[in-house]
């Protein structure tokens, strides 16, 4: 009997075996297995990559398996427990360090002229260079993370807030709120009780606790560093990548990465009082809560902030703001890594594909996070998004190059959001209605612009628009600014990634330097004690301001100290039974005991009675 059972089991196993091995038997098709975070790539990129690759490699064929994970932690434990293998995974900075330390990764080949090395922002790569980790080979030698990872997206952790809503609830002035949001300590302020949701994520909330617990020390360091003015802004005379600035950043990074036993105890106290002051913890609901107005503030990653700000503006007429407080905070990266045993060639081909500026811009436009890749197309996209000058023509002009359509062929329609867009061979292009200025562009083509019936080159057209802008807004920078426009400097991102530009000829206004932007999205508020505070919206979510960079620190993997932070987090999240709960619990337990005891006593009595009755009956019977 025992044997027949085994036979049956064996038969079952035999039946399932061919099904398991069937997919691997076809050797002509190579597979690229990608594991990415959820909603973290534009829809058709994977498909287009497969198509492109197959076309450029006749006789070979690949297919891409694309899976997703929700958090770095679940991804790590599923990799450790499961036998699943991937060729490319996209974890966050600290998880990359952890994977390196555990010896799970292999380095990328350094190909000097591939898309990544050409277009990845030089500054971001240098930040990635600054973090290192052992690679689990037992030698204890540290390797740069940049050898083992290719940057994908990056951003900051800040506060998204809704000044109108908070003003509504608390009765504070909106300006006061905007000034307060420039400091991490405001989250602990009783003024903002029950208004804010923070991240139900150990590392992110811990980093905020650090910024509060060591606030005084950080400010003292800033004063001592000599690179900041009295508003804690970087001095105009100091470059963001100067030695002094980097030295300060190193100091801050050390504070930011404190996670020993004593330090976690200090932070724990802070986080417990923060817990008492906030509305709640959230992982994913915070974005929608901000849009709906359920909460007034939300601790958010910059990419999620983009989503909240966009949706708030488009759907609810809610104008949300994003702030990275003046003492700084976290700068984070997500990057692609290759586990050992990965198909290196295919993985690197994919990285090369998604690192081209066109794909990066498409990706960025789709998911809202900021790409690691700079390059011309990304610059165009950013300009199209944020520069208030007339770039409608610019976009149209660019699109007409591929489609060959003329101005008349382009069809201007309103899309579902009631925004004026135009349609041509390449699809829909966003635009805003009043961006064409006063000119009639009928007859324009890619080769030449026709303005009010007069043909001219596009350069002349640009000059004309500039003249128009000068007439409208004055001819010097100050009057641009006086009409509510600020200049934002993105040199740090784009410098050195666009071949066509000769950066030595660049001036210092947006008119003669494409890395500078006018923006109408910043507000400068002067406080009562004469400090100037800048409140920002979209621009800050996509790109942290250049002068902020020395104040942004990378939070490394906690390593051995993870247990302390975990212990802290457990203590922060857990709660005692409230007093009324203890009373109710006591009453319940007491009454349970009483009921049980009384039931037992009553039963005994009844049993005794029954026995006696039976005795009597029996006695009667005998009679």
């Amino acid at each position: 009997m025992k044997n027949s059972k085994f036979v049956a089991l064996g038969a079952l196993a035999l039946l399932t075996l061919p099904a398991l091995t069937g997919c691997a038997s076809n050797n002509n098709v190579r597979t690229l297995r990608i594991l990415n975070c959820e909603d973290y790539i534009a829809d058709d990129i994977v498909e287009n990559f497969t198509k492109d690759w197959n076309e450029s490699h006749p006789g070979e064929k690949i297919s891409v398996v694309y899976d997703t994970f929700d958090t770095n932690e679940t991804m790590l434990s599923s990799l450790k427990t499961g036998k699943s293998s991937y060729d490319l995974i996209c974890p966050s900075d600290y998880a990359i360090q952890k994977m390196m330390r555990d010896g799970m990764l292999q380095p990328f080949d350094d190909i000097p002229d591939d898309n990544y090395n050409t277009y990845a922002s030089k500054y971001l790569v240098s930040r990635l260079d600054s973090i290192e980790s052992e690679i689990g080979d037992g030698t204890g030698v540290k390797h740069k993370v940049s050898e083992y990872a290719r940057g994908y997206m990056w951003g900051t952790l800040g506060v998204v807030y809704n000044p109108a809503k908070i003003a509504d609830i608390t009765g504070l002035e909106e300006d006061e709120i905007k000034v307060d949001m420039n400091s991490w300590t405001s989250l602990w302020d009783a003024k903002y009780h029950n208004i804010m949701s923070i991240k139900d994520s150990m590392r992110d909330t811990y980093s905020v606790g650090i910024m509060k617990a060591y606030n005084d020390e950080i400010i003292a360091d800033m004063d001592a560093s000599g690179v900041f003015d009295e508003n804690y802004n970087l001095l105009d005379t100091v470059e963001f990548d100067s030695e002094e600035a980097l030295a300060y950043n190193e100091k801050l990074t050390k504070i930011f990465n404190r996670c020993g036993y004593e330090e976690t105890k200090v932070v724990e106290k802070e986080l417990l009082s923060l817990k008492a002051n906030v509305f709640g913890f959230e992982v994913d609901s915070g974005k929608d809560d901000m849009v709906k107005g359920i909460v007034g503030m939300n601790l958010a990653w910059s990419g999620d902030a983009v989503y909240s700000l966009d949706r708030g503006e488009n759907e609810n007429d809610t104008y949300l703001y994003y702030s990275i407080p003046e003492t700084g905070g976290n700068i984070w990266f997500d990057g692609w890594v290759m586990p050992k045993g990965a198909d290196k060639e295919l993985a690197q081909d994919f990285i090369d594909y998604i690192s081209s500026p066109e794909i990066a811009a498409e990706n960025m436009d789709f998911i809202g996070y900021t790409s690691f890749i700079a390059g011309d197309t990304v610059l165009d996209l950013v300009r199209q998004w944020y520069d208030p000058r007339s770039y409608a023509m610019y976009v149209w002009h660019d699109a007409s190059k591929d489609s060959g359509c003329t101005w008349e062929d382009s069809d201007f329609v309103y899309d579902e959001d009631d925004e004026l867009v135009y349609q041509d061979g390449t699809g829909l292009h966003e635009d805003t209605g009043d961006d064409y200025g006063p000119f009639d562009m009928t007859g324009s083509t890619y080769e030449e612009a026709v303005v009010d019936g007069v043909a001219m080159s596009w350069e002349d057209y640009q000059a004309m628009v500039d003249t128009y802008n000068e007439a409208e807004f004055g001819d010097d920078e100050d009057s641009y600014l006086s009409s509510g426009w600020d200049t934002v400097n993105l040199t740090y991102i784009f410098s050195g990634t666009i071949d066509d530009y000769d950066e030595s000829t660049f001036g210092d206004t947006p008119d003669d330097n494409p890395y500078l932007f006018y923006t109408d999205a910043l507000e400068t508020i002067t406080t009562e004690d004469g400090r100037e505070v800048v409140a920002g919206r979209q621009f800050f979510t996509q790109y942290a301001p250049q002068e902020m960079l020395p104040k942004l620190a990378i939070m490394a993997d906690y390593g051995e100290n993870n247990v302390y932070v975990l212990n802290l987090w457990e203590n922060v999240k857990a709660n005692n039974l409230p007093i009324w709960g203890v009373i109710i619990f006591g009453i319940i337990l007491l009454s349970a005991i009483v009921v049980t005891l009384s039931t037992i006593i009553i039963r005994r009595k009844q049993k005794k009675l029954r026995v006696e009755r039976r005795k009597i009956t029996a006695a009667n019977m005998r009679k």
């Binding site: 932690e73 555990d102 906030v278 959230e282 857990a574 319940i588």
Partner: protein
């Protein structure tokens, strides 16, 4: 008696013949009814026994950073019983579980009594209405509950416990109503009438006849509510805005941070608690129930 011997008895011959045939058949594959159990046995082993064994092993295992077992360790055991935080969380979970069970029974019991009466519940439509929320995905339902409660001004920010309890009761009420309803519908009406005829007042009828008859329903209803509440964490997480941490949350936290030993040990504690509940409630149920007429 040797079976090879020929017997003059024709009946015995026939039996031997049948046995022979059966034996021949078994050289290939003799289908027996008990083989139908194999899929269930495989299922049981794969999804119930093996996972429990894994939990048991990991609860007392020392692991290296890649999750491989390298030895025995009582660290998880010690850290659980010495951590006031973990014990606090367990207390809160037990409290929420017991309170939820009681509230569900207090609401569900009279409700099922009335629903079982045809006068109020023609065609059983009402029962269906009460049970209907069970048809909707549990996570979606909780999300919707959050929206409704926010609309009413009750949220995790200001009333974390209240919001959680409302969510719990709302979610588990159908599980109380169903078993109670099936018991109530089978109440022996003759007994109730007899009790009344013999002079019991309505209160007496209830305590002497209705209540004892419905104990199996109460027991299975309590089980159906208490055990899942103990391990649930989505409801408290969503409705208390993460401010109330139940035992399930803390187990999840440890697993997600690769603290498999501690997570497994707490899972084991939960398993033991559930087992105790089962044993106690079955003892209770059996003492009073002569008929197994509960649904669950």
């Amino acid at each position: 008696m040797s079976s090879n011997k020929f017997s003059p008895n024709p009946e015995e011959n026939a039996i031997r013949e049948r046995k022979k045939r059966a034996k021949r058949g078994s050289h290939f594959f003799a289908f027996k009814r008990k083989y139908l159990m194999i899929p269930y046995a495989v299922f049981l082993a794969l999804f119930i026994i093996v996972p429990i064994a894994i939990i048991l092993v990991y609860a007392f295992a020392k692991t290296n950073e890649n999750g491989a077992i390298v030895g025995f360790s009582a660290e998880a055991f010690l850290s659980f019983f010495t951590s006031t935080t973990k014990l606090n969380v367990l207390t809160v979970s037990l409290f929420v579980g017991i309170l939820n069970t009681i509230i569900c029974l207090l609401i569900g019991y009279p409700l099922s009594y009335f629903l079982a009466n045809r006068k109020y519940n023609t065609n059983a439509v009402l029962v269906m209405l009460f049970v209907m929320p069970m048809w909707i995905n549990f996570v979606l339902r909780t999300g919707a509950t959050r929206d409704v409660l926010t609309f009413l001004g009750i949220n995790g920010g200001n009333h974390a416990y209240l919001a959680t309890m409302i969510g719990m009761v709302y979610n588990y009420l159908p599980f109380t109503i169903l078993p109670l309803y099936t018991t109530m519908i089978k109440l022996d009406k003759a007994q109730l009438e007899a009790a009344a005829d013999l002079g019991a007042n309505p209160v007496g009828v209830f305590f002497r006849s209705v209540l004892p008859q419905s104990v199996p329903g109460i027991v299975s209803a309590a089980e159906m509510v208490f055990m899942p509440t103990l391990s649930s964490y989505v409801i408290s997480d969503t409705l208390s805005e993460g401010k109330i941490t139940l035992f399930g949350n803390i187990i999840y936290l440890h697993f997600s941070q690769s603290q498999w030993d501690k997570g497994s040990f707490m899972a084991l504690v939960m398993l033991i608690l559930v087992a105790i509940t089962m044993v106690v409630s079955h003892k209770f149920g059996k003492e009073d129930a002569r008929t197994e007429n509960a649904l669950w």
